[in-house]
Symmetry: C2
Subunit: 417 residues, 2 copies
């Protein structure tokens, strides 16, 4: 992508209404645009990052054997009344609206009810189970406060996976597989080391629900970490000695840290399947409600977490797997010779399947370098009269001080091999 064709621009000034560093950088770099507190439009560069994260999550969901579908934002009242979750007391973040004839609709904050209602139509036998189905959805949650940028949104992108099993054993196996899948996702995103499987309360049918928490100064949660086992417990549970014992944790040996939730897993038991009649017939002809689980990852929230986690005073520092582009070409000066060489590098890299931002704008070298640092692609390639005098381009990694000259003839293969 040529920056001359990108309609966004970077901003020198921090926005006044963003509290976290990551959110300020995402706004300054032109990745997101605030519409309402907690409601952000995703501008071209930010949307690429969001979709890159989404693709990693999608690949891992598909590897689990889960089917992707797309449920709706508008929700009918009846299925939520059947599970006792229609009222604002049961779900305090509902947005509600109405058809012209007065029929109330809700804006889905989560999708257990519609998912269960779909599955009950198609699955009746133990032979149809297990079922794993997931979607990416802009969830709507009427949060009282929303001040952490894209890390806590009122309209935020979530991957939600649901599982339907015939036996507890089948459910437990899926649960363990999803846990391993989540760990692989955080590993691929570069935050595996600081992301901990965390015991939390809120399990309806087991003592715990489980979160994945990434250690982060601006995180909204506090977790207590067992570094040796690489697990943690949410602060809310640290007074519950029995729970700690069950999790095999000893509070006196844990260190505490701020953290941001980047995923959660809920064992749902049969609460929804019983209420909505999602039952199956077993081998002996007996009818049972399905055993369910739900598994969330906030993918837009992850953009905020990565922006906090990977950034410095100069700007964002994206891991290669999610960066808006792998290479950021900076053309210095507008001499024909330089422009031609830069264009050729751009074309060659794109042809080799490498994603590139090409700063072909009429700006000073200093302004272009500052933008490259702010936008945060992993590698900068600079082309100038000076580098061309040595048949070279200058290559510098975002987090390294030193640059080196690479011969033009070897440039593309440097990045493909």
């Amino acid at each position: 992508m040529k920056l001359s064709q990108l309609f966004t621009k970077t901003q020198k000034q921090d926005p006044r209404d963003e509290e976290s560093k990551g959110a300020r950088l995402l706004v300054r770099a032109g990745f997101v645009h605030k519409e309402v507190a907690g409601v952000y439009s995703w501008l071209p560069l930010g949307f690429i990052v969001l979709r890159n994260i989404e693709q990693i999550v999608r690949e891992e969901m598909n590897a689990l054997g889960a089917s992707e579908l797309q449920m709706t934002t508008l929700q009918p009242k009846d299925i939520w009344e059947q599970t006792d979750r229609w009222s604002d007391k049961a779900i305090d973040v509902w947005f509600k609206t109405k058809l012209h004839n007065g029929t109330e609709l809700g804006l889905a904050p989560t999708h257990e009810e519609p998912m269960t209602a779909i599955v009950r139509e198609y699955a009746q036998s133990y032979k149809d189970l297990p079922i794993l189905a997931y979607q990416f959805q802009w969830k709507m949650r009427n949060e009282l406060r929303a001040k952490s940028g894209v890390m806590r949104g009122r309209e935020f992108r979530m991957k939600d996976l649901y599982s339907f099993a015939a036996t507890q054993e089948q459910h437990d196996k899926i649960y363990a597989q999803v846990k391993a899948t989540y760990e692989r996702i955080y590993e691929r995103l570069g935050i595996g080391k600081d992301t901990l499987y965390t015991y939390a309360s809120g399990g309806m049918f087991s003592r715990f629900s489980h979160e994945f928490q990434t250690i982060l100064e601006v995180g909204e949660d506090v977790i207590h970490i067992d570094d040796k086992r690489h697990v943690a417990v949410n602060e809310e549970l640290t007074d519950d000695k029995e729970a700690l014992a069950e999790a095999g944790l000893n509070d006196s040996k844990l260190r505490s840290a701020n953290a941001a939730e980047v995923g959660n897993i809920f064992p749902l038991g049969t609460k929804y399947s019983e209420a909505l009649g999602a039952t199956f017939t077993d081998e002996d002809g007996m009818v049972h409600p399905m055993i369910m689980g739900s598994y969330g990852i906030g993918v837009s929230r992850l953009v905020g977490v990565l922006a906090e986690y990977f950034s410095d005073d100069s700007g964002l520092v994206w891991p290669e797997a999610v960066a808006p582009a792998k290479i950021h070409i900076v053309q210095i000066g507008d001499k024909t010779e330089v422009a031609t060489a830069a264009e050729k590098i751009y074309a060659d890299l794109e042809k080799a399947g490498i994603s590139v931002l090409f700063d072909d704008r009429d700006l000073s070298a200093g302004a272009k370098f500052a933008d490259a640092d702010l936008i945060g692609c992993p590698t900068r390639v600079t082309v100038s009269e000076k580098t061309l005098a040595k048949q070279s381009a200058e290559v510098k990694h975002r987090m390294e001080e030193n640059a080196k000259l690479i011969d033009l003839s070897k440039l593309t293969t440097t990045f493909t091999s």
Copy 2:
């Protein structure tokens, strides 16, 4: 994808609450699930078709040089008040909701206002123009009635492109490019022949807006067609002799037909840019409002149109470009020899990058053939003891009566070459 892993099943009975053939087939084949009238979840097979259409549109938008972004469903009141479109009188399909503190929010039925508000922040000079930006979005429209399946939804997927130009000449050039792009999209979807550029009223700053209408028995519009020029005029305009003359049409020589709108183009002039202050400075330092256009394609609606357009008594008949899979393998019987051969064909085709549905379920040949016809992939490959006796598989195209045996060793290359 193996059908044994797909959680949806086909239904023999037509749903009682769908009026159009396409909608009935989409429900029976397990492509969509109705949540509320005009609000459909997209089940795995339907979601693949929707995304295939979306990808074709995306490729064509990118070829135009447009940038993809993602705006929000939740909308603040102020920008819509500035353009006088907040009231239900101005937009009669608003859904509205509220924050806990009472602040009203709208659910975006379209995005001219937020798009203009974003562009005004980043573009100030004629050098920044033109700008072309687009998104895919689940639009929310509180339609009084919604009875045409996915063809007229209350929550429907739309590609909306917006253009911002410095001069009328620049705008006209973009407008012509988008028109050509739309024609290419309908061509790629297989409906080019019966999709007509149609003059319609509703232009605010020019006599006409323009629609693309696909001739379809169940279409909600009536158009009058000039077959020779391959253009049409919406019935609402046929009494306006002056308009017809301007469009170069003679009503007495037109034939009328039912049609479904599959795209529209609105010249917006400076209505939104003036109201929202999206201005630029020209070469002489003079300030002007930008000249805008908006260009929509209802991608979920297109699934409904294609389902109507390409179907017969046995089911759906997807064009290869959008089909849930190119090949539908039917394994007949569960003999090890047959299962092994079918698995190998499945693996070989997937490895060759060809999308495949593999019916590995424990069902009769008749049930499997009926499902293959209902789901509507372009090519069926049947493997049975009988075909294996001749070292072959039977290949049949969805719309052809006759099948032919293809040697197993040549099967993959038949589909790749």
